[in-house]
Amino acid sequence: MNFTYPKTVSEAFSAAFKMFGENYRAANVWRLSVAALAATLAFVFYKLLTEGHATFNTGSDGITWGLLVVVYAFFVLTSTGLTFVASMAMVFGFKEFYPIAKRCIWVAVLTLLAGFAALALELGHPFRMLWAVPLGVQTHSPMFWMGVFYSAYLVFLLLKFQKVSGGDWTSGTSKALGIISFGTVVIAHGMLGGLFGAIAIRPMWFGPLIPVYFLLTAALSGAAFAIMITYLTYGGEQAMPDKVRSLMRGAMPKAFAAVLGIVLVATLSRTGIGLWSNIDGLQVWGHVVHTSWFWIEMALMFGAFAMLLMGGGALFPALMVIAALFIGRYEFVIGGQMVPLFKGTWVPGLIEYAPSMTEWMIVVMSFAIVFAGWAFGERTLNLGASPQD
C-alpha cells in the first residue's frame, strides 16, 4: 500500500479528510466534528488554563454538580443502552439485531469515552483519580464501584469489539465477552443510579428505584442513538441493506416505542409524586413543571410516542427522544440540588444556575467525540459487519 506520512498539519488534515473517498456523509460529519472538537478543546483548555475550574458556574453555595455531570450521566447511560441494543443479538439471540450490533458496540465505546471526557474536565484532579480511586478501595462508596465497573465495562467492550472485528461472533470467548459486558454495564449503571439514589438528603434523587429508572432511560437513550446512527450511516431507509431496513421498520421501532411508553409512565409517576409530596427537597418539582423545558421534554416524548404508534419512520422520534432525555438528565441532576440545603436557610427561594459558555462547549465537545469517532469507525472499521457476511 502506498502511504506517505503527512509533513505538515494541513497535509495531515487533508489526508484525514480524503480517507473517506466517496462517502461524503461520513466525510462531512468527520470534518464538522473534528473542527468542532478542535475549536471546543482549544476554547475549554484556554479557559481552564487561565481561570481554572472557576470557569464553570458551579459553586459551594449553589449547584455543586453542574452541566458536566449531566453530560456524563447522559453519555454513559447512552453507552449502557447501546450495549443493551447490541446484546439483543449477542446475548438474547434476537438475530435481527445483528446488522447493527457491531456499530452499537463501537458507538457504546465512543459515548462512554465522551462521558468520561466530560467528567475528567469536571474533576479537580483527573490524573490523581487514576491511582487514588483504585488504591483507596473505598468499598462503601458508590462512586468507587461506579469507577470499577465502568472501567471494566470499557475493557470488556473493547475486547468484544476486537473479537467481532476479527469475524469471531459466536465462539465461546466471544459470547462470554458479550454476556460479561452486558452484566458489567448493568451493574455499572446500577452504581451510577446508586450514586444518586443513596443520597437520602436529596429526595429528588433518593430511592431504591433510581437504578431501575436509570435502566429504563438508558435503554431508551441507547435505542434512540442506535436508530440515529443507523440512519446517519445509510442516509435513509432506501439506502439501507434489506436486513437493516426491515429491522428499522419492524422490531426496532416497536421495541423503542415500548421502552418509551414505560419511560413516559415512569417520568409522569416521578413528577406526580414529586408534586404531591411535601418533604423538603421535592418542592423543586413545582419549579420544574413551571419551566418551558419540562413541557418541551413532554411534547417531544409524547410526540415521538405518537409518531411511532402511527408507524412513521423511527428517525425523528429518535432525535426527539435524545433531546428530551438530555433535558430530563438536566432536570434530574440540577433539580436535585436546587432546593437549598441547611446551609441555605437564608436563601429565599431555589438556587439559581445557568451553565457557563465553557460548560456548553464541553457539551459540544462530547457530541463531537461521538460523531468524529463514528465517522472514523465507519471509514475504517467496517461497522456494518454481521455474522451472516
Binding site: A54, S60, G124, A132, V133, P142, G147, V339
Partner: protein, 252 residues
C-alpha cells in the same frame, strides 16, 4: 483516646460572627468560604416574624456521610473523632459536598463568593491556591489533615482546628480557653467566643463539661433523624432553638 466534641449554647450566642472571623484568620479562609458560619434566617410572618441565627461549624459526625461516599478515602475520621480531608488524596469530585447534610464543605476553585477575588489579589506562585498576607506558620501546615492554605481543586472544611487540638495534653477532659495552659490547644472559634457560648471537650469522658452540659441541659443534634450523629451538640434552654426545617415556601 478522646472523642472531641463541641457544645454550643444557643441561649448565649449573640450572633456576633466573631467565631467566623477567628476561624477565617486562623485557617486562612477565602472571604465567603466560611468553615464556621452563623446563619441568619427568619421564621414566621408579619406581625410575628422573628430574626434568628444559628452557628454552624462542621458537625464532625460519628457516621459522616461525606466519608462514606468519598471514592478515594481522602475524607477520613481520626481516632479522636475528627473528620478531616487528606488534600493529597482528594480528586475534587465534590461527592462529599453533595452528600453532606449540613453544607459545610467548600471547593477551592470556583467563582469567588465575595468580590474582589482574593486569589487574584494575593496570587500564589506555588502549589497553594492563594497567598494571603496573614497565614499560619508553614510548620503548622499539614495537607494530610486538611490544615493550612489548600492546594488547587480540592475540597476543604472545618478541622476543629486540628493543628491545635491534636497537641493538647492527653487525657484532658475539656479544652477550656479560660485556662491559660489549654488556651493554645483550643479551637479558635471557642477561644474567641465573647459570650462564652462554645464549649469543647471529650465526649467520651462523662466528667467533661461538654458531657455534663449535654446531659444536664438536654443537648440536641442537628438533623438527628438522618443518623449522622453529629459530635456538635446544641443546648437550647428557653431562648434558642435548632432550626428543624429549611426556610422555603412549603406547601401547606
Amino acid at each position: 483516646m478522646a472523642k472531641w466534641g463541641m457544645v454550643i449554647d444557643l441561649e448565649k450566642c449573640v450572633g456576633c460572627q466573631a467565631c467566623t472571623v477567628a476561624c477565617g484568620m486562623e485557617n486562612n479562609r477565602l472571604p465567603g468560604e466560611m468553615w464556621q458560619d452563623v446563619i441568619f434566617y427568619s421564621e414566621g410572618t408579619y406581625p410575628s416574624a422573628q430574626l434568628k441565627w444559628f452557628p454552624r461549624p462542621c458537625q464532625h459526625c460519628e457516621h459522616p456521610s461525606c466519608m462514606a461516599v468519598c471514592p478515594t478515602g481522602a475524607t477520613y475520621k481520626t481516632e479522636d473523632g475528627v473528620v478531616l480531608i487528606d488534600w493529597d488524596k482528594c480528586i475534587g469530585c465534590k461527592y462529599c459536598m453533595i452528600a453532606c447534610p449540613y453544607g459545610v464543605r467548600f471547593y477551592t476553585d470556583e467563582k469567588p463568593l465575595v468580590a474582589p477575588d482574593m486569589r487574584k489579589v494575593h496570587e500564589s506562585h506555588d502549589e497553594h491556591s492563594w497567598n494571603p498576607p496573614w497565614k499560619m506558620p508553614d510548620a503548622r501546615e499539614d495537607w494530610k489533615h486538611g490544615v493550612g492554605i489548600q492546594p488547587h481543586d480540592v475540597v476543604s472544611k472545618c478541622t476543629f482546628c486540628y493543628h491545635r487540638i491534636s497537641k493538647a495534653p492527653k487525657g484532658t477532659p475539656d479544652l477550656d480557653p479560660q485556662d491559660p495552659k489549654l488556651r493554645e490547644f483550643t479551637p479558635a472559634c471557642v477561644v474567641t467566643c465573647a459570650p462564652g457560648a462554645r464549649f469543647f471537650g471529650d465526649l467520651s469522658n462523662p466528667e467533661s463539661v461538654v458531657s455534663r452540659l449535654i446531659g444536664d441541659k438536654r443537648g440536641v443534634r442537628l438533623l438527628d433523624e438522618l443518623g449522622n450523629k453529629p459530635q456538635v451538640y446544641y443546648v437550647t434552654g428557653d431562648g434558642g432553638a435548632v432550626p428543624s426545617t429549611r426556610a422555603f415556601n412549603k406547601k401547606s
